[in-house]
Amino acid sequence: VRELKKGSLHLLVLHLLYERPSYGWEICERLRERSQGTLSFEDGAVYPLLHALEHDGLAEGYWETEAGLGEDEHAARKGARRRYYRLTVKGRTALRAALQQWSTFTNAVGRVLGDSALAGEDRAR
């Protein structure tokens, strides 16, 4: 369970990269926006994870120069070099496995909480 908790960032980043190639700051912003501020990791934790994904062959990084204003007009600095990451085939396989693990974990937790909730209601009656 602890490993799954620790690995949630791993899973989330893999998924975001599966959607589209992205760079670190953008990944952090997407995490914050999608979770509406509920999930907020230290940005400094994301980069070592990206490097680890690249080191393990799950993602590949490449530098790209920003041509102009992008989707986020505040974030895109004209001429800025950014290191993008995209998922590899191995990364997609890892994502599938991670999603399977997460699903198993959340289902199990849900089942346990469901039973507990029922027992609590019985006692209350």
Binding site: C28, T38, F41, A45, Y47, H51, H74, R77
Partner: protein
């Protein structure tokens, strides 16, 4: 904290290959700049924006540790060689700085071996370097409690190093080999000065120093094992921004502690240097007549001076410090040219009988000195640092006459005969 300061702190803690370091710093710089621009676009001042983005990015020490874990340095031959050199340098520095205060203290207490020159602070400093062997005996005899402290301080370097390098036993092993190579003359010197009647004392330098090598490996391993990265928490910090970093890895505090330790060590050495400078002045003896009368005041018997000493020898000191012998005693020291010296120790035989060594490794001969038959000890007793001694008992006084071998046997017999 500004972005530049943050990047400087991160760079200082990264222990990765140079190309990787540059790429990491570029990437982090881009991120922080993007984040700052984003905040400034909504009307925030640059300084405040920078402060916020570096706070959200996290403790530079912990971020560096995470990067170091992803990009561990490959310990090739070159890096290992540098590690050994670092170990040698640390051995010389630590050994000298840690032992110099001890040596000065022992010199102040009169416990230093006679082979150690206490005439100046620098000569004592030289004796504290790994070049000197007398220090081992001093440590073993008087400062044995110092050894665990020394080992502890010594283990700190590979401990910190392994943490920083994010490696297990390699930094410790390199450092340990540096410790062993820092004393390359250790083994030959021990063989040369081997004392079969006291193998423990002979082996003490080797055992004492070489044991530091496995200590270094163990400390390096411990340092690596102590690395525990804070788990990444998915819970949003209060107020929507990261709190002050609170990970278990507190490198800043460790560096501050190490700096305090180094400063304390330097201060202790400076103070010892001043004490050593005063040692020589304090060692200036009063006139011989005063020394003799002062010594006589501490004795229960009448002090005997030899009526004959070889021509080039002259009495330089008479000491009868209470507590230096089991029974009341006095020592007379004669110095001559070319380093020749001769000492006479007179000890009351009562109340405690005096033990004498009867090792068969000495050449023992009998002669006659006046009406008593003394015992000769001729040999190369480097522990006591004399090459000949003669002992006899007369009028309730034990006489021990020692010399470094620069005085002939005939002269010794004449000195002995004229003393009792």
């Amino acid at each position: 904290m500004s972005i530049d300061t943050y990047l400087a702190q991160l760079a200082g803690r990264l222990s990765v290959a140079p190309a990787t370091r540059a790429a990491i710093l570029q990437e982090v710089h881009d991120h922080l700049e993007d984040a700052a621009q984003h905040r400034m676009a909504s009307g925030m001042a640059r300084a405040e924006a920078e402060e916020q983005v570096v706070a959200v990015f996290g403790d530079p020490a912990e971020v560096a540790l995470r990067f170091n874990a992803v990009h561990p340095l490959h310990w090739d031959r070159q890096r290992f060689g540098v590690g050994i050199l670092w170990g040698i340098a640390a051995t010389w520095t630590l050994w000298t700085l840690l032992t110099y205060p001890v040596l000065v203290q022992t010199a102040t207490q009169g416990q230093t071996l006679s082979s150690i020159d206490t005439s100046s602070p620098w000569s004592l400093f030289f004796a504290a370097t790994p070049l000197s062997f007398g220090l081992f005996s001093v440590l073993a005899l008087y400062w044995y409690w110092f050894v665990p402290l020394f080992v502890l301080l010594y283990g700190l370097t590979p401990f910190v190093w392994a943490r920083r390098a994010h490696h297990g036993w390699q930094p410790g092993l390199a450092f340990g080999l540096g410790v062993m190579l820092g004393f390359p003359w250790l083994l030959p010197a021990v063989i040369y000065r081997w004392q079969p009647w006291n193998p423990l004392a002979s082996l003490l330098p080797v055992v004492g120093i070489w044991l530091l090598a496995p200590v270094a490996v163990f400390a390096g391993w411990l340092g690596y094992r102590s690395l525990r990265l804070r788990p990444v928490s998915p819970v949003a910090p209060r107020g929507g921004r990261a709190d002050a970093p609170s990970g278990p890895i507190r490198l800043t505090r460790a560096i501050a502690l190490a700096s305090c330790l180094v400063l304390a060590l330097l201060a202790l050495n400076s103070w010892s240097f001043v004490r050593a400078a005063g040692l020589h002045a304090a060692a200036a003896l009063p006139p011989l007549s005063q020394q003799i009368s002062a010594a006589q005041g501490n004795l229960s018997f009448t002090l005997r001076e030899p009526s004959y000493v070889p021509q080039d020898l002259a009495l330089v000191s008479v000491t009868a410090t209470p507590g230096t012998c089991l029974n009341p005693c006095v020592s007379l020291l004669y110095h001559g040219s070319h380093g020749a010296w001769l000492g006479i120790l007179e000890i009351a035989t009562t109340p405690t009988p005096l033990p004498y060594r009867t090792s068969a490794s000495y050449q023992v001969s009998q002669g006659t000195v006046g009406d008593v038959r003394p015992t000769w000890w001729l040999g190369d007793d480097t522990t006591m640092e004399h090459q000949a001694s003669v002992t006899w008992v007369k009028d309730g006084i034990d006489f021990i006459l020692v010399t470094n071998g620069a005085v002939s046997v005939d002269d010794l017999e004449r000195v002995a005969g004229s003393t009792g």
